[in-house]
């Protein structure tokens, strides 16, 4: 069952388009990665889905609440870890957390005990009464994450949750994300850490002003793969045969090897069919196994090529 349903979601700031026509679903208990270069519209998307910005067109339903519906209900069901921790430096960790518990009308002994457990787990035990201004970057990040979890949201939006954390703390956060998902909470993770995304996310969306691709990591690999075609004769001449392919694919020829980067929607049989049609003699077709980072770079660069 979908906890987040995004339909043709767009946001314009005056003449500038931040995101256009986003469509994706995120299920209950799913960890969903939102990838894209800086300025791709990830933060704008998250801000719309957490009720901070109004969509220019399209819409979404988050935790059963439409974005143009009850903003109070929406914000009480989602948790947001922003890029900047945004803590009150003169206040202690306890006071920072209690303030948000009060806003959520959950300033109870039980809720504070839960907060303390998170603090211990993230290595902040015993620092409850220290001013946040004395905390390191990583400690601030962890406290901000606890603040996002305090009211037990159904959906969590985490912007770079392990940024600035030491490896041990980063692992603790990743484990916590996994547990939250296992409890049935939906987690949307914005990150540039591909290893983290690959480890944590069931599915990934790549955005760059628009949705470039969405699917599981293996699906994305297949969607955007590189294939090596070993041909008889000049690989460059064989590459020319790929001219009619839509959308266009980038290819590189080296002696008898043609390396074709598959554009979204183009599959290996499409490439082979064109080459055969052009009477290219094929000796071997080898799909390349690629890291998520390569897939991501290819998708985002591909969109630049299309734009130009």
């Amino acid at each position: 069952m979908s906890r987040i349903e995004v339909r043709s979601l767009s946001k314009h700031f005056g003449p500038r388009t931040a995101v256009e026509g986003l469509d994706f679903d995120v299920g209950e208990g799913e960890v969903f990665g939102l990838l894209g270069p800086n300025g791709a519209g990830k933060t704008t998307t998250v801000r719309m889905l957490t009720g901070l910005l109004r969509p220019s067109s399209g819409g979404a339903t988050v935790c059963g609440v439409a974005l143009d519906g009850d903003g109070e209900a929406l914000r009480s069901r989602v948790g947001l870890l922003t890029e900047q921790p945004g803590l009150y430096d003169r206040l202690t960790a306890r006071e920072n957390l209690r303030f948000f518990l009060k806003l959520h009308h959950r300033d109870t002994k039980q809720a504070w005990e839960a907060a303390r457990r998170w603090m211990h787990r993230f290595g902040l035990g015993g620092r409850e009464d220290d001013r946040c201004g004395t905390f390191s970057k990583g400690m601030r990040q962890k406290l901000a994450l606890i603040r996002a979890l305090l009211h037990e949201p159904q959906a969590l939006f985490l912007d770079e949750p392990t940024s600035g954390l030491d490896p041990e703390s980063a692992r603790a956060v990743r484990e916590a994300v996994g547990e939250l998902a296992a409890e049935g909470r939906t987690v949307v993770l914005c990150s540039h850490n591909m290893g983290e995304v690959e480890r944590l996310c069931a599915r990934v969306a790549v955005v760059k002003g628009r949705l470039l691709a969405v699917g599981t990591v293996p699906e994305l690999r297949r969607q955007t793969g590189v294939v090596e075609v070993h041909v008889e004769g000049s690989a460059g001449a064989a590459g020319e045969a790929l001219g009619p392919i839509v959308p266009p694919c980038v290819w590189v020829a080296e002696a008898h090897v043609l390396r074709v980067t598959l554009a979204a929607g183009v599959s290996i049989p499409d490439v082979v069919a064109l080459l055969v049609q052009a009477r290219v003699r094929i000796h071997a077709v080898l799909p390349a196994q690629r890291a998520l980072e390569d897939v991501y770079l290819e998708l985002t660069r591909g969109s630049e090529t299309e734009a130009t």
Partner: protein, 266 residues
């Protein structure tokens, strides 16, 4: 979005905690009341050290040419000073909220705490009320405490001549009890409005503080003898400020729009 008082009070609670831990701001808040109490007390004290009747009569006649011959000109001047000083005293309930609210609203932008706050289920009206309470309540409390100190100090200094209390009188009680809180809302409303539009607490303070200029102009008019202050005069000021307060609150709530704040300041 429905209004919940507990959320406005939570915002006030946080602001009060933050204020208590900001010694620089506390010091600037207390400097003005100290000056506004000590200066007129010092003037009365200086007058009474050398109460030359001829000099005081000519000063008194400048302000009231119909002053009876049997009237005590020193007492007249003390009463005149105390009456006019209320106009200066009103700077306090205006200025203290400007100091606090500029920090609490523009400070949220500077410290990058605005986005997590706006992501919480708190409405614009709750935020404005919470932040306003946290600045108006201390401002009014400081004004009332300063008034008590002013009454004690002026009466103690003037007692040897007057042989009775100069203050409190009806005008001051009405002014401090009713007009001063309205001025506190004015200072707060202006600071909230300006802070919602600019990104720095210091700039917000500087721009909001311009409101003291017309007030200083009015006090100047009183001292020049062009404006005759009294209970009615201050009541009219209070009524005008009440209208401004209502307009400022409405404008502040409109300016605390999430979309606007997030897209401009985060």
């Amino acid at each position: 979005m429905s209004f919940r008082l507990h959320r406005a009070l939570a915002v006030s609670w946080k602001e009060a905690l933050d204020l208590r831990k900001n010694p620089g701001l506390l010091a600037s808040m207390l400097a003005l009341p100290a000056v506004l109490v000590l200066v007129p007390t010092g003037v009365v004290w200086a007058w009474l050290r050398n109460p030359d009747a001829v000099t005081f009569r000519s000063m008194a006649l400048y302000y009231d040419p119909t002053l009876p011959l049997n009237a005590d000109p020193v007492r007249f001047m003390i009463d005149k000073l105390v009456l006019d000083w209320f106009g200066v005293f009103l700077l306090m309930p205006v200025f203290v909220p400007i100091l606090i609210s500029s920090q609490s609203v523009a400070g949220e932008k500077e410290r990058r705490t605005l986005e997590p706050l706006l992501a919480a289920p708190v409405s614009a009206a709750e935020l404005v009320l919470g932040k306003s309470l946290a600045s108006v309540v201390p401002a009014v409390a400081i004004t009332w405490l300063s008034f008590a100190a002013f009454v004690a100090a002026v009466d103690a200094v003037a007692w040897p001549l007057v042989h009775g209390p100069v203050l409190p009188n009806g005008m001051w009680l009405f002014g401090v009890g009713v007009v001063a809180p309205l001025f506190a809302f004015l200072g707060n409303g202006l600071a909230v409005l300006v802070s919602a539009r600019v990104g720095e607490a210091r700039l917000a303070q500087q721009l909001s503080a311009l409101v003291v200029l017309p007030l200083m102009g009015l006090v100047g008019g009183q001292l020049a003898g062009w404006i005759r202050a009294g209970a009615g005069y201050y009541a009219v000021q209070g009524a005008v400020v009440l209208v401004l307060d209502i307009l400022l609150i409405q404008a502040s709530v409109r300016l605390f729009d999430r979309e606007r704040l997030v897209s401009r300041w985060t």
